[in-house]
Amino acid sequence: MKYRKSEAKEYTREHMKGIWAAIPCPFTEDDQLDEAALRKSMRYYIEELKIDGFFCGGLIGEFWALTTEERKRLQKVVVEECYGKAQIIAHTGHQSVGEAISLTRHAEEVGADYAIHINPYFAAKGDRHVKAFFTHLCENVDIGVSLFNSSLSGVTLSPRLIAELADIENICCVKNAQSMEHHVETLRLAGEKIVCSEPSEKNWMINHAYLGQQVFMSSPEPYLYQRPGKLIIRDYTRLIDEGRIGEAKKLSYTLTELRGLFEKWIMEPWKAGTLPIAYLKHWCALLGMPGGGKVRPPLLQITVPEKEEMKADLQRVGLIG
């Protein structure tokens, strides 16, 4: 641990910055964790795309399809590849609070910077249950814990509840995958207590330039939009930091077509109930990244016509040749 439990909020405020990616979990043809591809992709993210931090083992990482042992192994491999080069927030969400504690302690032990836990799903149905879950989890771990307010859990944290949870000693952040209205209200109620991050790239320009959001934590856009030598998100973020807002906006607008494709292939299926991890992995494969293989059941593999359509889409906007 790089900080004491009582310093979790302060440490996060000071260190959780930059552009973070939520990464997929590669599998081999025989459905094992593909460690070689994972390591190779981590090196690509860090060395070529200059990504500052990684959210591993989350929704993009098909956490629901991994055993506890696989999740621990994933944490270890990601930390080994990142240590000293980028930060790691390990997703330790589990329906069993005992298993969540075990995963979180493991993240702490292997050297992750932070842990993050999706809204407790299945049994926790009201605010009291949610508070009981996080209170019990946080009492039993030292690492800084981020909330992950995803409604996919079946539970949505209100801005007020986030502000209450933010009083727990080592709650240090919220990845708030909600509407802008929700985010703005969360910033108002909890923004001084913990780091609040709304994770859509399309809103990052506004969130960073005008609402004081210090970190883009986290989504797949950093590796789906950016290519080696063409780090548009990173570049327009730097322009914002230098106060060159007009130039930043102009550069950000060049992503408009890609944002349209992200809506089509990722967000629209997601909203319709189809977790688009197979599409995301194929997008990675088209970019030549390792680990763009299969998804685990119950998700369905991408079909051949879909593959062709996606390739044509990415060619049309000039992302691939």
Partner: protein, 326 residues
């Protein structure tokens, strides 16, 4: 396996008849699963309540709070305690397919006659992915599978989805925990000749037997919450109805109304309003003589002393605590 995969439906039709309970799990002072307590509960169900089967590892056992290892230990302990005298129906649901397969295969190897799979949640959110979940699982196990249609997944299976799933060879039963008799009626109409269909609401049981020929009550803690060793009225009205003696069955059924009202007050009303009353189920179970110590695990909240007093007093007023007093 006592039957071939292709015979699962036939086996279920012949063997899955009668009443299946749902005993509670208890925890020791160290917070660990109390397997001896579970075994006692299984024996109580077999010897005292004389049921035909029990569902283990479900909601009243806080399945979500248990590790895969704990769930397997409980399956093994239940099967040992049952000694082949009653059917053990373990729930082996998990959103992680590898864990789900591991537990289902374990149940199969340990000699369970059926495994119960609740609607998958988290990643399975469309008709195609829900079907894929069951299809993938069932292709890889031999044991018969009971669907468990619970809204706690965030959705219900529709009668049409159930009908599609009923074509999978080893899907052989359904616990349709919808609490909507019209939905269950439609399920009986669509799949009643393929699956053993059960509405697990005790209040609907007589209706189910009389109007749909429901052969199995799958499954409910009411068998131990409403009944004592000397007073097994659910069993009585179920058998009367199965024999076609409906007038007598209705009389016995009606006599349980006060207890049913208490269950509604203490259990079902909170249950269907997102406050799983497992601590209350456990305390009621303890009062009825089952092993249910150790409270509940977070995020659920334990029953308060005031609630205990009030629940106990309610059960005494309804004349339910005879066994305890004796």
């Amino acid at each position: 396996m006592r039957y071939k995969k292709t015979e699962a439906k036939e086996y279920a039709r012949e063997k899955f008849v009668g009443l299946w309970g749902a005993p509670t799990y208890s925890y020791g002072p160290d917070g660990k699963l109390d397997l001896e307590g579970l075994k006692q509960n299984i024996r109580y169900y077999a010897e005292v309540l004389k049921v035909q089967g029990v569902f283990v590892g479900g909601f009243v056992d806080e399945h979500w709070s248990l590790s895969v290892e704990e769930r397997k230990q409980a399956i093994r302990a239940s099967l040992e305690a049952a000694r082949g005298e009653i059917i053990i129906a373990p729930m082996t649901t998990h959103h992680c397919m590898a864990d789900c397969l591991e537990m289902t295969r374990f149940a199969q190897e340990m000699g369970a006659e059926i495994a119960i799979i609740m609607n998958p949640y988290l990643a399975a959110r469309t008709e195609k992915t829900i079907f894929e979940f069951f299809h993938h699982l069932c292709e890889r196990v031999e044991i018969g599978i009971s669907l468990f249609n619970s809204g706690y997944a965030g959705y219900y299976l529709t009668p049409d989805q159930i009908s599609a799933l009923a074509d999978i060879p080893n899907v052989c039963a359904i616990k349709n925990a919808i609490m909507d008799v019209r939905h269950t009626a439609e399920v009986f109409r669509k799949v009643g000749n393929r699956l053993v269909v059960s509405d697990p609401e005790e209040a609907h049981l007589l209706h189910g037997v009389q109007h749909f020929g429901q052969q199995l009550f799958h499954s409910s803690p009411t068998l131990h919450l409403f009944q004592t060793p000397e007073d097994r009225r659910i069993e009585r009205y179920f058998h009367l109805a199965r024999e076609g003696r409906f007038a007598e069955a209705h009389e016995v059924y009606a006599s349980l109304a006060p207890v049913r009202a208490l269950a509604h007050k203490w259990l079902w009303e909170p249950w269907f309003n997102n406050r799983l009353p497992i601590a209350h189920v456990k305390y009621w179970s303890e009062l009825m003589g089952l092993e249910a110590r150790g409270g509940v695990r977070p995020p659920l909240e334990n029953i308060t002393e005031e609630e205990k007093e009030a629940l106990r007093s309610d059960l005494e007023s309804a004349g339910l605590l005879v066994r305890q007093a004796a």
